[in-house]
Symmetry: C2
Subunit: 425 residues, 2 copies
């Protein structure tokens, strides 16, 4: 089954907003095994709209339209859809009442314009919009269903999930469902992952394994097709188990479980606290940890120790170490991790010190060099890497690596150098 | 002049990524007065690609294509463009060398696959890609230029700005040019800005003033059309002067000059140093300041003091203040700013302490409450606000406000409460 998504609005074509509706709709269609073949966007121009709609009717099995359902003169979708496929516009009484009630609920009076939003092409089925004034509708043209939805993302999301997807599923009874999962990994490059997992999910033609880079992470997206959701889930359970067995601690979470969320949950569950000492990451690691609500349960604090004097005064790094080895060195990284742990009285202390660039490098200590250390009751582990990345990505990768060390320590996994990185020998 | 943008890739049609390239390209085209009329996306499928390309050739005056220039079997754009318009593929020696050199620069060997990226349709002009392996190209079909660019956003952005836009401008000599500027403001809501500036840029029909929200900032985008770039620039100078006169210190920068960049430049120019003490922003303010290369010239460091014990031990906040007023209070904000200034020996000390939520609020101290303080040789200024925002936006707005106070102090502007915020009385 092939779908086309048509989004309408001058603001899209002027580039004023990024059109995230299309990716959302495509992803949702895929869960019903409907493949999006075309994304088309046109201005609020009747001729361009009609052309796009006719073309969609000729090449797709299902068409999703978003935008152009508002109350203003620019909003032409309903009118143009009706005209294109030879339907009259008729008013829907219950929709008019619902729009009036919506305005009453927010303490405003309905403007005369809004009555237009209760007009639909003859024969269309109205799709209610409980959180906005623009109802959607389903118009079947020949064999092709056109689902017209508002362009406001939160209204579109709700209408898609509650109204559109069930109707598409119902039209396709017996065809089966597709379910997907997201496994989050850190520490191995995409092509290596592809290679390591190449024999996974090959025996079942209804299971596929997708890859997606979300620097500095890589996501795995297993997708299973089956007659029922339960059967698809069972296939996914099997393939996810196989991936986790193969990758071990490289998989840190599933779905929306970010590394900071997973690590925070581990700290809370184990009743442990953490403090961070940052040089090159400059606050990014602390910011990441505290982006999680409730982080005060386990995060005691951090020091962004940029100046050497701050490393001495706030972290107790001996001046002699700074003078002999320089700020970017293993002895200083160790002293920072141990110092922040002692100053804050935390169970774990983690540190970063490096040269994120673009300036500041030398032959001996190139731009990209970074030392990371993790101190706890068992001692201090330190290592160094060279990441040939721009400043922002260097900082992002370093902070994620340091956080991943914390997670690995908490789950008892080794703090090895992930293959995503070029280790400096 | 009408443009069509064609983006290519299965990942787009599966909804795995949001296609931000289209909005970027449309926005940039608009600066040359080129109106995007169609956005089209298709899978890595030769028939669908050919159909989209032929259609674009028939209805657009300029076509931008992105994606499908990679080294793998799925990357078909060059091949399909050549076949669609009856061109042979020819190898470009300099491009092959450039790709080889690119791999050498990152310490890797070129895979045989990558040689494919040095093939181009006969007659195409190669567009170099200094930060990736996929060069782009310009192929003129009849009267219609097709610009083919890589799909990786940072490579696309650079190629569009450095290679494509100048060529489009050159093809349009004599038609007139459109120039745009971006003025960055912080502290006033979009609708208030619109109201305050409503009489600006009304007398000249060739000047328009656009608004764009980029939370927590608001951008102004004056756009001027004229026969020459110099004439358009002169119009822009006039409108920008008028805006700056009206808004004063609300305008903090122009173009790519972020608040952290502007504030950093002021600190460097005045030979001043800064240190930050963060509670609710948890490292975000330090991270923002240090995201600028060379921040070590003026940033001594920061303390993310989440736990009260950290506020005492690392910032010298008296326990008595914490017990009597609570961590989220003006006396504690003042003590944090003064403490971090003293500990780091910096010229300025700035602090944040608040309740970013979603939990932690009370009747007296609601979620959203935040205290900010700025200490320098002249004394300490403190104020408090309630921002009814989610955790992430609460932190972002607080960090930006604190940084803007630093900038205002350095330029001698008052530290008033911007109207974007609901002040708590």
């Amino acid at each position: 089954v092939k779908a086309e998504i048509v989004t309408i609005g001058d603001e899209l074509l002027r580039g004023e907003i990024v059109d995230s509706n299309k990716s959302f709709l495509s992803e949702r269609l895929l869960t019903l095994d409907v493949e999006t073949r075309f994304h088309t966007s046109v201005c609020d121009d009747p001729a361009d709209m009609e052309d796009a709609l006719r073309r969609a009717a000729g090449r797709a099995d299902v068409v999703l339209v978003s935008g152009g359902l508002g109350p203003t003169r620019d909003d032409l979708t309903t009118e143009v859809l009706a005209a294109t496929f030879g339907r009259k516009l008729v008013q829907d009484g219950p929709s008019l009442e619902a729009i009036r009630a919506f305005f009453a609920s927010v303490g405003r009076e309905m403007a005369p314009n809004n009555a237009k939003q209760a007009l639909f092409p003859e024969g269309a089925e109205v799709l209610p919009n409980p959180i906005g004034t623009a109802p959607g509708f389903l118009l079947v043209v020949g064999e092709v269903p056109f689902f017209s939805m508002p362009g406001v993302p939160r209204e579109l999301v709700r209408m898609m999930d509650e109204q559109v997807l069930p109707r598409i599923a119902a039209r396709r009874t017996g065809v089966g469902v597709v379910r997907a999962r997201l496994l989050r990994t850190f520490g191995m490059g995409e092509s290596t992952l592809d290679d390591v997992l190449k024999d996974i999910a090959t025996e079942d033609p209804d299971v596929t394994l997708g890859f997606r880079t979300a620097f500095p992470d890589n996501y795995l997206r297993p997708l299973a097709r089956a007659a029922t959701a339960a059967a698809a889930d069972a296939k996914l359970d099997r393939v996810c188990d196989a991936i986790r067995t193969r990758l071990g601690a490289l998989v840190y979470g599933e779905g929306d479980a970010t590394l900071e969320l997973v690590t925070g949950s581990l700290l809370r569950a184990q009743g442990k606290t953490i403090a961070v000492a940052e040089s090159c990451t400059g606050g990014l690691l602390a910011e990441k940890i505290t982006s999680v609500a409730g982080a005060s349960d386990y995060f005691l604090g951090g020091v962004a120790a940029y100046a050497n004097s701050a490393k001495e005064a706030l972290l107790g790094v001996p001046r002699e170490l700074l003078e002999r080895h320089g700020a970017v060195s293993e002895p200083v990284a160790r002293a920072m991790a141990e110092g922040v742990r002692a100053r804050f009285g935390s169970d774990l202390g983690v540190s970063t010190t490096g040269i994120s660039g673009p300036g500041g490098g030398s032959a001996e200590k190139p731009v990209g060099l970074v030392h990371v250390a993790l101190a706890d009751a068992s001692g201090t582990h330190a290592d160094h890497f060279v990441f040939p990345l721009d400043r922002s990505r260097h900082r992002a990768l370093t902070a994620q690596l340091a956080l991943d060390w914390v997670r690995r320590r908490l789950v008892g996994a080794p703090l090895e150098a992930p293959t995503i990185m070029r280790r400096r020998k």
